[in-house]
Each structure stands twice: as structure tokens, then as C-alpha cells.
Amino acid sequence: MQQTNKLRPFFENLEFERDDNHMVINFGPQHPSAHGQLRLILELDGEQVVRAVPDIGYLHRGMEKMAENMIYNEFLPTTDRMDYIAATANNYGFALAVERLIGLEVPRRAQVIRTMLLELNRIISHLFWLATHALDVGAMSVFLYCFREREFAMDLMEDYCGARLTHSAVRIGGVPLDLPEGWLGALAKFVNELPSNIKDYEDLLTENRIWRMRLEGVGVVPPEMARSWGCTGIMLRGSGIEYDIRKEEPYELYDELEFDIPVTDTCDSYGRYKLYMEEMRQSVRIIQQLIAMYDDTPPELMAHAPQYISAPKEDIMTQNYSLMQHFVLVTQGMRPPVGEVYVPTESPKGELGFYINSQGEPYPYRLKMRAPSFWHCGILQDLLPGTYIADIVTIIGSTNIVFGEIDR
């Protein structure tokens, strides 16, 4: 009961001042290990968590509502700010959904470049995950090493699209630019060196006694729990269920590429850590295959669909009709046919899906994003009870949640 004359902190139905031995503590929203703005209300019995309630919404920026007032191309940069660690994965998810909605065929070179960028982003994201997770658990030097390698990958992204974090490198209908001179060589150099760096991290961590004690048997997600909470990505594969959208519903070039989906049935944080390391190696393998594919592709970069996609720059500058169409597409926006589409993609964190309901207007009637972190955040209320307070940070870290995506 809230008394107006006495300031008693309360949250929903949770009394903070209690008469029994339980203690209620507040974790976040500004906690350095909360991976953004997670607020957890924890009820503790001694050092053991009895109840955990995640409180989200501290980064809610109203993106889905914004989408309803923006033309499709205008909304693309907003998707960068969802999962800001791997922006290309979001750009791609959105672009692919719009392409499926209007039935576009993307040129092969654009497909190769997109898949390269997606996998490069997966490496960036996993390196970032390892850096922050190790920092949370207490291994500061791994953080510094990972950021060193991550900066090389960021330089590659920057050379391609000019941005370090918010790329917008994938557009609806293709990619805007061809690869710059010498980029493939730099990419090949990076991916060839990465496995030895991954081995360095593993030497530091895998058999490290502290690391194993902090991770093994911590944050155990049984397969039933993972299924019932809608976990995807490594949270699901860490529980022994082999499910990867790149294999189940291949998009882009993934059906032509050879790669393995690492699975483990240890269900704990340590198993998930091993999966992240293995996925980086698989991304290296994919990029190496893509580099070989690039050379024998025709030079087209954007799909040819005058009704939806602007013509190449040369045509706009020389042909009156292309200029007119470009003007209409920029000022009014493309008008996809009436219909709805849901397209899942495998982002570094799990299943990232975009649902678009189009009424034939330049603005989507409804745009819904199915972000994997949202579900991985919800599982905390089942995962945390019974664990010790020192393990909370490990568990939050190993779920790999990012708040731009949860709150949108």
C-alpha cells in the first residue's frame, strides 16, 4: 500500500520494505553490466535470487510508430539504431522484407556483398559480445584484445560505407556502392588472421580456472525452457536444438555456401561461449568462400525495377524519364502492393524478423520487428531464480541482449 506522506519505493506489486528476511534490490537501469538499460527487481534470500522481474522500456524510442510515418527508404537508417552492434543485420532484415513484399530479384554481386557484410557484422558482434562478457566476468585483458580486432573489422566497414557503427550499407534492392579498390584484399587479410586471434582468446579463457568456475553450470537453459520462451540463435543452439534460419529457410546466398551450425547440449554459459567462438570461425569460412565468388559476378548492384527502385546515376543524369521516376520515388516513396509479409533472418543474436503490412501506400500500415533480444530478456525471470547474485552478471552477459532491440 502506497502512503502519500511517506516515500516508500515500490514497483508494481513488489514491496521493497519487508518484514521477512528477504531483501529486494534494484539492479539498473544504469548499471555498467546491464548491457544498456536493463532494470531488474531482484528479491533475495541471502545471496540467492528468489524472484527476478526484468523491467524494460528505458530505451523505448517508438520506432515502430515512426515507421508508420516514414517512406520505406526513409526508415532504413532507423533500423541501424536497433541492434547497434550489428547494424547491417537489421538493415538487411528490413530490406529483405520489403524486397519480398514487392518481389524483387537482387543482382548477384549485391548478394555477394551483402552476405559479406552480414558475416563481417556477425564477427564484429561476436567480438563485442566476448569483450563485454569477459569484462563483466572480470577478464579485462580479453576486452582490450577483442576491441583491437574489432577495430580492424570496423575499419573495413568504414572503408566500404563510411560509417563505423550505423552503416545503412544495405539498401532496398541491393547495395549502393561496389567494393572499393583493395577492399577484398584487406578483408582476406583480416579473415585469415582472425582464427589465430580467436585461438589467443581461447588460450586465455577456455581452460582458465576462474572463467570455467564462473561460467560452467551457470545460466542453465533446459531445451524446454528455451523452446517455450521463444529463444533463437545461440540461446537455442546452446540448449542442444539445431535451428539456424540460414539453414532452415536460406536467404541470400546461404544455400550455396558451406558452413556448419555449431550446437552444444551443455545448456550453460560456458557452452554458449564456445558456440560464439565457433560461429566466428564459421563466419571466417563463409567470407573466404564469398571472396572467391565475387570476381565472376556481373557489375549490377541494384535491382532493375523502375517502379520501386531508382535507376542508376548515369540514367538519372541522362534520361528524362528516369529522372522523373527518381523524383517521384524520392519525394513520394515507393508504393508496394497491398499485402503483408513476415521475413525472418538470422541476426548475430537470433531470429530477427520484420513484419510489414502494406495497404499500397508509401507508408507501411504496420511494421513490427521481432527482435531476438526481447525474448532472451524475458527468459531472465525464469533463469535467475535460484542463482547467486554474483552470477547474475554472467547470465545477463551470456544472453547477449542489446537494448536498442528490446525496447525499439
Partner: protein, 169 residues
């Protein structure tokens, strides 16, 4: 035991530097600006990158602290939402004087691209801001330049007076 003797009247004078209390205090303050880890959104990643191996914020004496009571500088890195606004004010009030605020990125400056019902259109509506960084997200170099500008600002201020109340926009 010193084996050699320095003749101060001939070789360069006495090892004495003259300065004012203001200058030496500000010299110390400006070279140990400890920042609060206030990562809210995308800019936090660039803030972490500036603290990490390549950009190395420790060169400036800027070390990230998790507690507002140990911090001099609040780098507001990311979108401030209305739900969070209460906490930013509370954390700002918990910081000890003298304290400074850097608003990092478009969202913190003006709300940026998120002109919606949920976001605060600029952190300067909630807390006073000393420096605004443009960019979405600003590069780590930008943040480092901002800290260097802040150091200049600190050196210009008077060290022993309490800070003037800053203006909210």
C-alpha cells in the same frame, strides 16, 4: 648519498616552479577527469571503443567509473527517454562538485532522429550540459576531442569557488 653536487647558481637555477593554487588544482582536475559510465544507446559502443585499446582514453586520465560519487564527468551517450529522465537527474545530483556533462550524439543533443512521444528532446532539458558533440554516432576521436576541450574549459575556471549554477535550456 649524492655523489654529485649541483651548483644551482650556475646550472639552470633552483628546481622550483612557481604557480598559483588555481592553476595547480585545475591542472590536476583536468588531467584526471573520471567519467561516469553512462551508456544509454548506440553512442555507448563508441564510448567503450574510446576507452578500449585503439583509442585509449587512459592517456587523458579519463577512467570510467561506475559510481556517480567517484565521477567528475557525465558523458550522456545515447537516447534519453522520458522513462529514464528521472534517473539521469538523480545520478547527476549524486555526483560531487565540480562536475561536468558532455552530451554525446544527436539524440542526447536534440533528440536527433527520434522525434517521438517517448524521447526527451535533448538532455539539456533535464541536466545542464557543458559540451555538445554532433554526430550519430560520434567517432571516438570526436569524444576525445570533446574531453580535450573540456580540459581547456576546466583550466580556465576558478578552482576554489563553487561552480556557478548552470543554465537549463
Amino acid at each position: 648519498m649524492a655523489q654529485h653536487q649541483v651548483n644551482y647558481t650556475q646550472s639552470g637555477g633552483l628546481p622550483v616552479a612557481l604557480t598559483t593554487v588555481d592553476k595547480i588544482l585545475n591542472w590536476g582536475r583536468s588531467n584526471s577527469v573520471w567519467a561516469l559510465t553512462y551508456g544509454l544507446a548506440c553512442c555507448a559502443i563508441e564510448m567503450m571503443a574510446s576507452g578500449a585499446s585503439r583509442y585509449d582514453f587512459d592517456r587523458f586520465g579519463t577512467i570510467f567509473r561506475a559510481s556517480p560519487r567517484q565521477a567528475d564527468l557525465m558523458i550522456v551517450a545515447g537516447t534519453l527517454t522520458k522513462k529514464h529522465a528521472e534517473f539521469i537527474r538523480r545520478l547527476y545530483d549524486q555526483m560531487t562538485e565540480p562536475k561536468w556533462v558532455i552530451s554525446m550524439g544527436s539524440c542526447a543533443n536534440t533528440g536527433g532522429m527520434f522525434n517521438t512521444y517517448a524521447t526527451v528532446q535533448g538532455v539539456d532539458r533535464v541536466i545542464p550540459v557543458d559540451l555538445y558533440l554532433p554526430g550519430c554516432a560520434p567517432r571516438p576521436e570526436t569524444l576525445q576531442y570533446a574531453v580535450m576541450l573540456l580540459q581547456q574549459k576546466i583550466r580556465r575556471e576558478s578552482a576554489n569557488k563553487s561552480q556557478k549554477p548552470k543554465r537549463l535550456v
